[in-house]
């Protein structure tokens, strides 16, 4: 059984944040109908993840496949009266509408919340624009790094006296997607309990602000800003030689850092953290270096005071071992250590992820058999497993238009001739031709 069996989602979302939300609603069992139009598609192209030797086209992006499993694709030109009418008919038999366009796009199409509610009174409508639909900057646009910059997330990452290092990807596309899914699910739960739908106005930028909560409270309560010497302290809990201040990531302890490991390649690093003197003594024993037992390192205040020397001694030891060896040696005696893992490391070398079935293969009609990322949770009654590869563009047009919405075959074929289900001027793909037979 699937948790969301019987739930239908009209998915206007594109690029990453919105599709990441509906990916999970799909894994949880909802029927996701992705509305696309090849002329202004963003997510399938441009593709930098097409496996060689395949041609880069609308159906060969690996990243699109991973981001859009568990969905069906309806190719529909919503900018025509006929296309809009079909979209409305679909909304009328659906539970959730979700989109991540700029703030006024859906309203300008004639699909604002008032109209959605007229079509389907208990519809749950989740909009996921960059700045939200409310507020003077609603027309501003984001991509992940901009939302992260404006909200303060970027600033909290880096070395002191260097530019912010920030995040190496659109963290707020992943996380914005999580909030999109959470908003849809809470709206759905509320609807099931009260029979009332609603519009939920999510903003990618605003959603990042609560993620810097303790730093904000340090300012609103104590008047202490984050722009100060020694902050942010890189991987450390405290930067040597600067005033002792809190770091918003946990207790102020040492060691708390990244260390190079053998053989010294780009991702040959491990991290080690000791939360107590006892954990430190265990680490010192594993390291076996006589200096590790020096009195100056015996207490947390001593380790913080001599942190640079401490880190040098730990790294002299870690550089003699591989990162997985350091991890196993430390964890065996109750010391906190982990390897820095690349994607290759996680997919190929992480025994925990392998045992938990994190990357299972799904066959895609154009890409072939590939591993896809699975849910990070096990639900005992309603497992959230990926069950469909990402759709080819327009792959389910006939199934939805005829099967679900009840249009006749002739009507569907006419839609291919009048720019409704595929651009007239664009060559039709083989599976679209088959639909017309």
């Amino acid at each position: 059984m699937k948790a969301l069996a019987g739930i239908r989602v009209v998915d206007f979302s594109w690029v990453r944040a919105g599709p990441w939300a509906t990916r999970w609603l799909g894994a949880l069992g909802a029927e996701i109908i992705k509305i696309e139009w090849p002329e202004n598609e963003r997510g399938r192209l441009p593709s930098t993840t097409t496996p060689q030797p395949l041609e880069v086209n609308l159906n060969t992006s690996g990243n699109f496949n991973d981001t859009n499993v568990n969905k069906k694709s309806l190719c529909l030109n919503v900018r025509t009266a006929k296309g809009l009418e079909i979209a409305k008919r679909l909304i009328g038999v659906s539970d959730i509408v979700i989109e991540n366009f700029s703030s006024r796009v859906l309203r300008n199409w004639g699909l604002g919340y008032e109209e959605l509610r007229r079509i389907k009174p208990d519809i749950v409508y989740v909009s996921m624009s960059g700045y939200g639909h409310t507020g003077r900057h609603h027309h501003y646009t984001t991509f992940g790094p901009v939302a992260q910059a404006v909200s303060g997330l970027t600033f909290l990452s880096g070395l002191p006296d260097k530019p912010p290092a920030g995040w190496g990807w659109s963290y707020m596309d992943d996380t914005g997607g999580m909030y999109g899914a959470m908003c849809a699910l809470t709206g759905l739960y509320h609807r099931n309990m009260t029979a009332q739908g609603q519009h939920i106005d999510l903003s990618q930028m605003v959603a990042s602000v609560p993620l810097v909560g303790p730093a904000l409270l340090d300012f609103t309560v104590n008047g202490r800003g984050s722009r100060r010497p020694g902050y942010p302290p890189g991987n450390r809990a405290h930067w040597p030689g600067t005033p002792l201040v809190d770091n918003y990531r946990g207790p102020t302890v040492a060691p708390h850092n990244a260390y190079r490991t053998d053989p010294g390649g780009y991702n040959d690093w491990c991290v080690i953290v000791c939360h107590s003197d006892d954990e430190w003594r265990r680490l010192a024993r594993v390291m076996g270096a006589p200096s590790a037992t020096a009195a100056k390192f015996a207490t947390v205040s001593g380790r913080l005071q001599h942190q640079k020397e401490l880190d040098e001694q730990i790294e002299a030891w870690t550089m003699t071992l591989g990162k997985y060896e350091v991890t196993a040696l430390c964890q065996a005696v109750g010391v906190r250590a982990m390897p820095v893992q690349s994607a290759e490391d996680r997919v190929e070398h992480d025994p925990q992820l392998r045992q938990r079935g994190m990357y299972l293969e799904i066959e895609h009609p154009a890409l072939g058999m590939h591993k896809v990322q699975n849910a990070p949770f096990k639900m005992s009654e309603t497992p959230a497993l990926n069950h469909l590869p990402s759709p080819l563009i327009g792959q389910h047009t006939r199934e939805i238009v005829e099967g679900l919405l009840g249009y006749g075959h002739e009507e569907m074929c006419a839609g291919f001739a009048d720019d409704t289900f595929w651009p007239i001027k664009r060559p039709r793909l083989p599976y679209l031709e088959e639909m017309l037979l």
């Binding site: 969301l4 990453r16 993840t49 700045y131 939200g132 003077r136 900057h137 501003y140 646009t141 992940g144 790094p145 910059a149 303060g152 970027t154 909290l156 880096g158 260097k162 912010p164 290092a165 920030g166 995040w167 190496g168 963290y171 596309d173 996380t175 959470m182 709206g187 739960y189 009332q196 739908g197 519009h199 999510l202 903003s203 602000v209 609560p210 810097v212 303790p214 730093a215 904000l216 409270l217 300012f219 984050s226 991987n235 990531r249 946990g250 207790p251 990244a258 780009y266 991290v271 010391v335 906190r336 390897p339 820095v340 690349s342 994607a343 938990r356 990357y359 990322q373 990070p376 309603t382």
Partner: protein, 420 residues
């Protein structure tokens, strides 16, 4: 927003028992701010993450931890020693009438007390029990210790974050700050709990959920995994922007006031974009040679990418305060942003328009403080903070006497015996 304070949140009516440390209390906050009745169960004396600073006025005290305050809004609090016979008995009575138990104990701990899902669901088949742990309930790393930094390493965040050589040569990978490993785990836990709740509205059945923070972090690196699976690529770290297989043009520029601006220009440069960029720079008299007709040719643009980005854009941003660049660019349709320190957000008029900041009363201090509010505006059932974090055992009388019917005398005995 007349009457908004009286409109119930979407999760109103749900009772959630939270047995969570720093790894899980954000999940409870999300559900509580959405209207659920969260009863946080702490060991007698208080949860140990009350000992993490910063503290109110820098005076360390378990009632003054700002992270604890922040992550425990909209909850009530009781104390209970689960590892005593009386404590586990009282917990079973609470669990029998709860909708959800959220727990972050090491795998097997609740079972060792006879309080695992099988035992609790036998008395309450509608119960949803969510176990949120560093590595999940199974697997070779199940019992490994962790921390926020450890998860950022193992989950792939560090492999993608840090500096390129132009900014900091030979820099280590840098773990993004702010405790986001816990956020990642809590977001997925919240999603799974919500899905289980929706399912329960049609099935009347609860279930067990086993969430792994390591898996949540491993999933939160955008295209990193797809790049490996489909292209075999291991991506390299680039300051303040996306990981990439090779070098990419910088996106972070220093403004006149020493603050930084995030401006994605490389990868978007085409004749139309150059024309719009010329308009923006020209409005400050800094257009340079951007109006030269040669830029109608995409090949010329490509050949001049470094000139456009490292000379013209960099000099333009260097001539103005960061906030001014941000707004001037956004008003002209550029997806650029100021790299702000958190404290700058308090002055953001857009956040004020959305009613984002909340004044939260701390009656025992006779003060109120400004808290960040909600990620989304729910137009039918508001997401809002209903109260400050609980004091240690603040609601013991309300819950143990008011709900479970214990006498004040019995409560005193429990306190004297370190059971509450």
């Amino acid at each position: 927003m007349t009457g908004a304070d009286t409109v119930p949140g979407p999760l109103t009516g749900l009772r959630i028992l939270e047995l969570a440390d720093e790894t899980g209390h954000f999940c409870g906050k999300l559900l509580g701010d959405l209207g659920a009745d969260i009863v946080k169960i702490e060991p007698p004396g208080g949860e140990r993450c009350r000992r993490v600073g910063p503290f109110l006025d820098d005076i360390p005290h378990p009632e003054r931890s700002l992270p604890f305050w922040y992550y425990n809004t909209s909850k009530r609090g009781i104390t209970l020693a689960l590892d005593t016979a009386d404590g586990s008995g009282l917990f079973r009575r609470l669990a029998a009438r709860a909708d959800i138990v959220l727990e972050t104990f090491r795998p097997g701990y609740l079972a060792s007390l006879g309080l695992d899902y099988e035992a609790l669901s036998a008395e309450n088949p509608r119960l949803i029990l969510c176990a949120l742990t560093p590595f999940g309930q199974t697997g070779p790393w199940r019992d490994y210790l962790s921390s926020d930094l450890l998860h950022m390493a193992a989950g792939g965040e560090m492999a993608s974050s840090g500096y390129d050589d132009a900014d900091v040569p030979n820099a280590p990978p840098i773990a993004p700050g702010g405790g986001n490993a816990w956020h990642m785990g809590c977001h997925y836990a919240c999603m799974a709990i919500m899905a289980a709740l929706v399912y329960r509205t049609v099935s009347a059945r609860g279930q067990h959920i086993d969430v792994s923070i390591h898996e949540a972090c491993s999933l939160t690196t955008e295209g990193q995994v797809a790049n490996y699976i489909y292209r075999g690529e291991v991506l390299r770290r680039q300051t303040g922007r996306h990981h990439a297989a090779g070098p990419t043009p910088r996106t972070q520029f220093r403004a006149k006031d020493g603050k930084y601006v995030c401006a994605l220009v490389g990868g978007r440069l085409n004749p139309k974009y150059v024309g719009e960029l010329a308009d923006l720079l020209d409005s400050y008299g800094m257009v340079g040679d951007l109006r030269d007709p040669k830029y109608q040719d995409p090949a010329v643009i490509t050949a001049n990418t470094s000139h456009i980005i490292d000379d013209l854009v960099a000099n333009f941003i260097a001539s103005l305060p960061g906030e001014e660049v941000y707004h001037a660019a956004q008003e002209r349709g550029f997806t650029w942003g100021a790299v702000r320190a958190p404290e700058q957000l308090l002055d953001d008029p857009h956040l004020h328009d959305r009613g984002f900041w909340k004044e939260v009363e701390h009656p025992e201090l006779g003060r109120s403080f400004t808290y960040p509010g909600e990620a989304a505006i729910y137009n039918g059932s508001p997401w809002r903070i209903s109260r400050r974090a609980p004091l240690i055992g603040e609601h013991n009388i309300e819950i143990f006497c008011g709900e479970l019917g214990l006498s004040r005398g019995e409560l005193s005995v429990l306190a004297e015996n370190h059971i509450i």
